[in-house]
Amino acid sequence: MTEKLVIIGNGMAPGRMLEHLLENAPGRYQVTIFNAEPRVNYDRIMLSPVLSGEKDYEQIIIHGDGWYVRNGITLYKGHKIEAIDRTEKTVTSSLGVTQAYDKLVIATGSNPVIIPVPGHDLAGVLTYRDLDDVNAMLLAAQSRAKAVVIGGGLLGLEAAAGLQAQGMDVTVVHLMPTLMERQLDPAAGYLLQKALEERGIKVLTEANTKAIRGNGKVEAVELADGTVIPATLVVMAAGIRPNASLAKEAGLAVNRGIVVDHGMQTSDPDIFALGECAEVGGHVYGLVAPLYEMARVAAARLGGDDGAGFLHNDTPTKLKVTGIDVYSLGDFADGEDREEIVLRDAAAGVYKRVVLKDNKIIGTVLFGEVADGAWFNDLKRKSANISEMRETLIFGQAYQGGATLDPKAAVAALPDDAEICGCNGICKGKITGAIKAKGLTTLDEVRAHTKASASCGTCTGLVEQLMELMLGDAFNRSAVQPMCSCTDLGHDDVRRLIEAKELKTLPAVMQELGWKTSCGCAKCRPALNYYLVCDWPDEYADDYQSRFINERVHANIQKDGTFSVVPRMWGGVTSAAELRAIADVVDKFNVPTVKVTGGQRIDMLGIRKEDLPAVWADLGKAGFVSGHAYAKGLRTVKTCVGTDWCRFGTQDSTGLGVRIEKFMWGSWTPAKVKMAVSGCPRNCAEATCKDVGVICVDSGYEIHFAGAAGLDIKGTEVLGLVKTEDEALEHIAALVQMYREQARYLERIYKWARRVGVEEIRRQIVQDAEKRRGYFDRFVFSQKFAQVDPWSERVSGKDKHEFRPMATVGFAEAAE
């Protein structure tokens, strides 16, 4: 009989616990999770790279929706648990779901500390805890205005660096005399402050926030000494507090956090707690390694192993700010019974300090050069007596025993039980063992099989060195990410070689570039097909068997295998005749759902594949063509009504939108392209979150690009202002052609622009008229071959086989 396991919270600790539990005791529990956040389990350590723009949300998901489905786990997203009834053994959520449990796990995490100064509740005051906070900060950063971060600890500094990377003018306000005083000694704190200031982040220490000023929203931060710092965004990063209120209301023992024994059990034997909300042995934890250790213990206990217990271990701290390397471990305070060894290299900005007690390492602070952190940690963990190597200890591992300066030598010399990945507690032996036993050759494989370097990623370099050591020339860590496992070449190399070697067919590409598979895979074939379509529009014969089903049959596949059909409505404008034709199709083919899309047109869902040509034939008679709602290509051009009707309109935005759409439809692009034209800066067509947008103003047309409003939200960049519609069209087509020629397959415009640089794009499209004209001409040329309505082609009989079964057999009547 399966027992009911209910988990409150869906952060990294319970996620890891479930992984262990599914491995240790599969099928023992029927698992239900309630998550107050409306999403799956993602890697919170990676929020800082998301904020700084180095990663996307999709890259930091740990368990996608499919994982929960595959493992039979019910996940209630956006459900906050409001009460635990320990007598009835049930929990009840904010949305009214009541669920019974046999065992309950509380993993409610922590809450950010809000300093109760006047103005702390103004709009524009944020904390830094989850993806919503990051998204709110990214949105605020669009203004390129001033931000103040209150708190100079780990989180505060990562937030400051991220906001600055997004273009904000950032000031860090810190109460203590030096930054990160809990993890760094004053010398390292000083170096850190200098490094941040060199990047343009202002740092105020011994600064006490007195009030946040503003009328309805933040305008400035006022300090106790009277200083006023103007700001439109304030991030409070003054620490975290275990979120134990639910447990307290349920009558469980609560101190700073929810009190648990070393088996993660609370004062109620059927209730466990883990993660940042739990207090074990008087400690609460905020770093991932001990939280994962809790997860391991809780899973073992739930699986019936009563021997598993949690042990306190010092965890190294690393700051995740690109280009600033900081490492801190253990106890580094001065003391009578302690000695220290210090190395400073002012020119290189390096500071290393090792604190010793009885010839053993008890603490380490490293700044600027942190490669030896793992080695010092290893010596500390083993309480190794270092008196023999005392003279050279501070120079690091490479200097011991006359070893060479080969950087790999250090990794080679590490013992098998040396910890490489602190987040996941993975030692060297486990990684080398997995590489050998499973024949792993890529970093992704090592991550999948060992979890090493799969959380915060700071040990990636070490893992790669290990792989180099084991695999020799077979592993090249400076190699770019290959397109897929069929090749070692990255997208950029492949694109370059297709042009340089004038490769014009798929077999030519695969032969000349040494593809390792006979006919590619579902990842590389669509990419190569696009590159060839883009580079040789007149010569290359589009390979439909290398297109994803949606592009192959010109409709969107749905979860039940039926398709949806979206005809083009130029600029979102329609008519009675068009609407009547759609209504007739809906009646004739019993279309179950008709929906207005976000792109100002109409979607008919649930159409059987066999019916598609007949549906298109009827739509075609009313003048409709394909809306390419399925394509990596031009999708929609949203418009507002502009000068035709609007009393604020400055230009004919509808007319321009229709003109752009008629000019650009049918073009294939690396990823989908959505556009909009707004008739005035009120921006009713929401042009500033599109791939390409136009804001009409009295003096002309402001062209925007590189916005996003999906997994990521990002406001657009301004390309430039032009005076006429013709100029606007030329700039937009040239921009899209540049993107078509340079981007990697599936890379949206905003990601491509981030890689290439907005300045560079402006230089080529706005400032260099000759370059622009070249792009424009190539776009126009490729449109000659692209602007064929795929629906009418298929109505006339093209690809007939796609829409009919090959045979119907075995039925009694069919057998006659």
Partner: protein, 109 residues
């Protein structure tokens, strides 16, 4: 074995698939780049996606719904995914493709 003719290999595009409707459900018949022919149930073990609509590469197909890769030879999911679909015997007899249906049918075709 109950061999039933379903058409010719030329009815299927290379690196493509066609469907055959049968009393035991829809069957996907694949033709690879090197003209090998395979038949499997047209239902991904993951979420019943129509495998016949996927991209065919080597002796495998990638499901159009969530990118599971299914071996056409064994019907097994590849990589880290677990699950399998039933494979259906298929042969070429005198230029005609035939599949074998397990359950007996009314009259011989």
């Amino acid at each position: 074995m109950n061999w039933i003719a379903i058409g010719s290999i030329d009815d299927i595009p290379a690196r493509g698939a066609r469907c055959v409707n049968t009393p035991q459900g829809r069957i996907a018949v694949f033709r690879t780049a090197d003209d090998k022919v395979f038949a499997i149930e047209d239902q991904c073990p993951h979420k019943q996606g129509p495998l016949s609509q996927g991209i065919v590469h080597g002796n495998a197909v990638t499901c159009p719904l969530h990118n599971w890769v299914i071996s056409l030879e064994t019907g097994e999911a590849q990589g880290a995914d677990e699950g399998s679909v039933k494979t259906i015997p298929v042969r070429i007899e005198g230029g005609t493709l035939q599949i074998a249906l397990a359950a007996p049918v009314g009259k011989a075709a």
